[in-house]
């Protein structure tokens, strides 16, 4: 699987084993691919409200995530 900028993605609840750098607050959440960082690493943009609910502010949070953490959103 590979993703393209602008594509909606969802982070997996259970990513594959190994070294995991997917913060708890971003598991099982929907975002949009912002850019390809490295081979197999994507910058993904999340709306604060999609991370913490309606009371969250209107900012965006960007995380660099491995392809294995993601599925099409």
């Amino acid at each position: 699987v590979s993703f393209y900028p602008g594509q909606p993605v969802r982070t997996r609840l259970q990513a594959a084993g190994g070294y995991l750098r997917l913060p708890v607050y971003a598991r099982g959440r929907t975002g949009v691919v912002h850019a390809l960082r490295d081979r197999g690493v994507y910058s993904v943009r999340f709306r604060a409200r999609d991370l913490w609910g309606a009371e969250a502010g209107d900012h965006d949070v960007f995380l660099d995530l491995l392809e294995s953490y993601l599925e099409p959103g």
Binding site: R21, Y25, R37, G57, H59, V61, F62, L63, D64, L66
Partner: protein, 209 residues
């Protein structure tokens, strides 16, 4: 020494003693030399400092083409200029996977590492204690506007905030807005206005005078 002597120590004294003891053992067994320790301290405290990041920002403020390339492909720029910009000649610079994000009148960027304490060390030096605190790491992603206000960065409500959580190999540096009233200032003068927090969006550059 009496059993209560330690109560007069500075809070960091036990750690300092432990580090000193470890260094002594490693040196006496020939694993490292004192000169190597001094070199490393110089790299971290002298060569890798916010003066490096400040030079790149000041150059970007005065040179539009440099700014364009800084934002488009910072690693290529670091490989090219790492040995030209004074004080920025450490070897880590060329390996830094740097992404530069630009503050504008409509957009403010803030950098955090919620998982640990990732930070663009070659351009900023070691991260300050507050950057590594649980409080900053938890709150910067969740309520950045409140965190920024506490840090003295009062943003217009219309300014959008982007928070960059350094979860992989890329390191983020903020290109702050050039302060008003700095027209005609030299690159050196401008670099002195660039504070370490302003390079991760947790502060603003100083105003002139």
């Amino acid at each position: 020494m009496t059993g209560t002597a330690h109560t007069h120590d500075h809070p960091t004294a036990p750690m300092n003693r432990r580090i000193g003891a470890l260094e002594g053992i490693l040196v006496s067994r020939g694993a490292i030399t004192s000169a190597q320790v001094d070199d490393l301290l110089d790299v971290f405290s002298g060569q890798m400092g916010a003066h490096n990041g400040a030079r790149y920002v000041a150059r970007a403020w005065v040179d539009a083409e440099f700014r364009r390339r800084f934002l488009a492909d910072a690693p290529a720029l670091l490989r090219e200029f790492g040995h030209d910009l004074r004080g920025a000649s450490n070897q880590e610079l060329a390996r830094l996977r740097l992404v530069v994000v630009e503050n504008t009148a409509e957009l403010h960027n803030l950098v955090v590492c919620t998982l640990c304490s990732c930070y663009p060390v070659p351009l900023l030096g070691p991260p300050p204690r507050w950057y590594r605190s649980n409080s900053y790491r938890a709150r910067a992603v969740r309520e950045p506007r409140a965190v920024l206000a506490e840090l003295g960065v009062e943003l217009d409500p219309n300014v959008r905030i982007r928070v960059w959580d350094s979860t992989a190999d890329s390191r983020y540096l903020v290109l702050p807005r050039r302060p008003a009233g700095t027209e005609g200032m030299s690159e050196d003068e401008l670099a002195r206005l660039v504070t370490p927090p302003s390079l991760i969006g947790a502060g603003l550059p100083k105003s002139p005078q």
